[in-house]
């Protein structure tokens, strides 16, 4: 796009050799080994998990620290800025596809497999006689009884929270573009708080579901898709909140200018993406 616009940094910024990637790889390797071993009954694996997690955190601080320093030092020209935009867009696209896999699983079980197992065909007559399917209560012949999540209550509140947070974030952005620091800071702060609130509600919801509603990962196709979809979404909210918190800190340090603030925008894009996923979740997991 820029090529047509003729945007070419005189010297496109190419970072110096960096140790962070290899540090990250070591961290992930250790996480993977640790997870594989601890899932198979080797307690020592947990040390691998711990070590890996610490290394990853170190890497994140180091790497993003470098990026922030470079950005503040003005190394990133316009073309680099464009690269970041493309990069972030494609990253979000990959996230969309990740969620698509789980949504696909949800639709497949709801529309195809559960009805077949509980239907009237040979599958039911010869293999699962006596089982009749009712989404979301009885999703499989060998699932034990559980309660399902109602859409009103916490999920509805959480929907409101996320929608509001999208608005406050946009306010903050307007503040940034208009050079209104107060609006920016307060908007961002509100967004972070709303995100945290969302997470608290979700933690409560999970706890309640697990302990009092007998709704676990084990609760058939419903339990599995419910926890995997909302769980991965929750993780993304967590990441988004952390990103926004970092942005808040950077705002307080006076990092962004009205023209040059892609870090902020990237976090905002991410946040809006997480928002949209939630809306789909709300409709397909809770309401329908």
């Amino acid at each position: 796009m820029n090529v047509e616009n003729g945007i070419h940094d005189a010297h496109y910024f190419v970072p110096h050799p960096s140790r962070w990637p290899i540090v990250g790889s070591i961290g992930l390797f250790s996480l993977a080994m640790g997870a594989a071993f601890s899932m198979n009954g080797f307690v020592a694996g947990q040390w691998g998990l711990l070590f890996g997690a610490l290394v990853i955190i170190w890497m994140l601080f180091g790497w993003f620290g470098d990026v922030v320093r470079e950005s503040v030092a003005g190394s990133y020209g316009q073309q680099v800025d464009h690269s970041f935009r493309w990069g972030m867009s494609w990253f979000i696209f990959s996230e969309v596809m990740f969620f698509a896999a789980f949504f696909g699983a949800l639709f497949y079980t709801r529309v195809l497999s559960v009805p077949e197992i509980g239907g009237t065909g040979f599958t039911n007559r010869l293999l699962w006689e006596g089982f009749s399917a009712h989404w979301p209560f009885a999703t499989g012949p060998e699932t034990t009884a559980y309660h399902t999540m109602e859409a009103d209550g916490i999920p509805a509140i959480n929907t409101m929270i996320l929608l509001t947070s999208g608005a406050t974030l946009t306010l903050a952005h307007w503040g940034l573009v208009a050079g209104n620091r107060t609006k920016l800071t307060l908007g961002l702060l509100a967004t972070v708080l709303l995100g945290t609130l969302f997470l608290c509600f979700q933690a409560y919801e999970y706890h309640h579901a697990w302990t009092e509603m007998a709704l676990t990962l084990n609760s058939g196709a419903y339990g599995a898709t419910f926890y995997m979809l909302t769980g991965f979404h929750g993780m993304h909210v967590l990441v988004g909140t952390i990103m926004l918190t970092v942005m808040l800190v950077r705002v307080l340090r006076g990092h962004f200018s009205a023209e040059h603030h892609f870090g902020f925008e990237a976090a905002a894009w991410y946040w809006h993406f997480v928002d949209v996923v939630w809306l789909l979740l709300f409709v397909f997991v809770y309401v329908l």
Partner: protein
């Protein structure tokens, strides 16, 4: 020409930027260094996966169990598939993209140089996880590279290591692809519009797009596998409302685009080589671009042709059959355009050209056997048998791998600054060509006659062709050591220094910089006149609007 002057001025100062010793490689942010890493890694994986293939072929030399117990045979098959696909072929193409894209587009480096390093350095840990898995209780994953549950849910710890390896590989692919897409969209030299990029850039772009779309889907699939294994979910078990076939749908939604991920960049390479040695511009550039795009679009809509035997509803079976057949049209357009490029050319047959011609012939054979497989009722006879094995080795080995050999010989002078030994290159080609066919052609017959794949032992009527295939495999395999020799020989000086452009018919930008390409190239974009000069030669006036 200012850029080149600038280049020369800089040449002496490279030391500033590139730390020496191991740091140069481990901390690398230079696209050429990272490309080199990718290529060596992939070759090492090719030897490893090939060694496993030899294990398979040794056991299948005659009926009865000779060398391995069945579990270990299944581990060999599985890891052979995983390592060849994710370790050998895919990283090789990413390596090529790394080396060539900035050079061909006139960019100073990849868009995200530091992330580029991470994309590479996630691969060795993943490979390590796979290799370690041979030594954990229960051994490596043994459920086939397709990891179908419930077999993979019941498997031992090796499966977890494979799952995590796939996570890392996926992460690497996604980051690598984002880098490629961004580089192509954002870093082209002035004057190089999308429809004037070299064909290799186009196919790489579409490939990267496919990868960003499907690698996360695979990650999701194996994550569900992991939770089914350890956390009590029932995605793939009817007892809880799931379905083993669900995994197959998700896997192949990834898996079919995946096979084009291994084919499209090969098409790109061949589309560079054939015009060069035909001394003609690529015929039908624009329709090649459209064909590439339609292949990409169609590849999302055909996945269930791997599942004709699971008992799909009739209408699904018909639709997937029709759309699969349709992919032959854009692929055919490519084949025809290559032939038309050679038609009335002024042909010479250096090693890259030989591999490219070998590619076109044998890939088409593989494509035709794919077409036969896409006919659902015929697939009844072929599915999960050696006809399928023959099909995919024709498109993968004689397809993807041959194009990689071609690419290596083609660009080796640029990478090393030296010319390879033409005679040995040609020998490598003919050796590979002959023994490839000796290995894999008989597998068509085995498949027709009903030999299932993934078996360590077989009924007596399959003996003869298996023996031929095994002999071919060993010859083919050891022939690849010659390739290794050729490459090392060239690095060490080859048959002499290579000029900036050793090929009479090559016009893309990488041939404008000296050989070997200096550590930093195009630090400022090449000026438009230079770009246009190359483009004019590439596409001629008609295209130069």
């Amino acid at each position: 020409m200012t850029t080149l002057a600038h280049e020369a001025h800089h040449a002496g100062h490279d030391g500033h930027h590139a730390p020496a010793g191991w740091r140069r490689w481990v901390f690398a942010t230079n696209h050429k260094d990272i490309g080199t890493l990718y290529l060596w890694f992939s070759f090492a994986m090719f030897l490893t996966g090939g060694l496993m293939a030899l294990g398979i072929r040794a056991e299948l030399f005659k009926p009865g169990l000779q060398f391995w117990q069945p579990e270990f045979f299944n581990q060999l098959t599985t890891l052979h598939g995983v390592i060849m696909v994710f370790g050998a072929i895919m990283p090789a193409f990413t390596g090529l993209a790394n080396w060539q894209l900035p050079l061909m587009l006139g960019a100073p480096d990849m868009a995200f140089a530091r992330m580029n390093n991470w994309s590479f350095w996630l691969l060795p840990p993943a490979a390590l996880l796979l290799l370690i898995s041979f030594f954990v209780p229960g051994g490596a994953a043994a459920g086939g590279w397709t990891l179908y549950p419930p077999l993979s849910v019941k498997a031992g710890m090796g499966m977890d290591l494979a799952i995590f390896a796939i996570h890392l590989l996926g992460l690497s692919s996604i980051m690598g692809s984002i880098n490629i897409v961004t580089t192509i969209l954002n870093m082209r030299a002035p004057g190089m519009t999308l429809l004037k990029m070299p064909m290799f850039a186009w196919t790489t772009l579409i490939t990267a797009y496919l990868l960003i779309a499907v690698a996360p889907v695979l990650a999701g699939a194996v994550t569900m596998l992991l939770t089914d294994r350890h956390f009590g979910t029932h995605f793939f078990s009817a007892a809880g409302g799931g379905d083993p076939v669900l995994f197959q749908h998700i896997f192949w939604f990834f898996g079919h685009p995946e096979v084009y991920i291994m084919a499209l960049p090969a098409f790109g390479v061949v589309s560079q080589i054939i015009p060069t040695f035909s001394r003609k511009p690529l015929f039908g550039y624009v329709s090649m671009v459209y064909a590439t795009c339609s292949i990409a679009v169609l590849s999302f809509m055909v996945w269930a042709h791997h599942m004709f035997m699971v008992g799909l509803p009739l209408d699904a079976q018909l639709i997937f059959m029709f759309i699969t057949m349709l992919i032959s049209v854009p692929t055919g357009v490519k084949v025809f355009n290559w032939v038309a490029t050679m038609w009335q050319g002024s042909l010479t047959f250096e090693t890259p050209m030989l591999f490219a011609i070998g590619f076109v012939c044998l890939f088409t054979v593989g494509g035709f056997s794919g077409l036969v497989l896409s006919i659902a009722p015929i697939d009844t006879q072929m599915h999960d048998g050696y006809y399928v094995v023959a099909h995919f080795h024709y498109v993968l080995v004689a397809g993807a791998l041959f194009s990689l050999f071609g690419a290596t010989y083609y660009w080796l002078p640029k990478w090393t600054g030296y010319m390879y030994h033409e005679g040995r290159g040609k020998f490598h080609f003919w050796w590979s060509m002959i023994f490839f066919n000796v290995t894999f052609f008989p597998m068509h017959f085995l498949g027709l006659a009903g030999m299932p794949r993934r078996i360590p032992d077989y009924a007596l009527q399959f003996t003869d062709f298996n023996m031929i295939a095994s002999i071919g495999a060993f010859c083919f395999g050891f022939g690849q050591l010659l390739f290794l020799y050729n490459v090392i020989h060239t690095i060490k000086g080859g048959v002499g220094k290579a000029p900036a452009n050793p090929w009479e018919g090559a016009h893309t930008l990488e041939w404008e910089v000296p050989s070997p390409a200096p550590h930093h190239t195009w630090e400022t974009p090449p000026d438009e006149a230079l770009v246009r000069k190359g483009l004019r030669a590439q596409y001629l006036e008609g295209h130069d609007d």
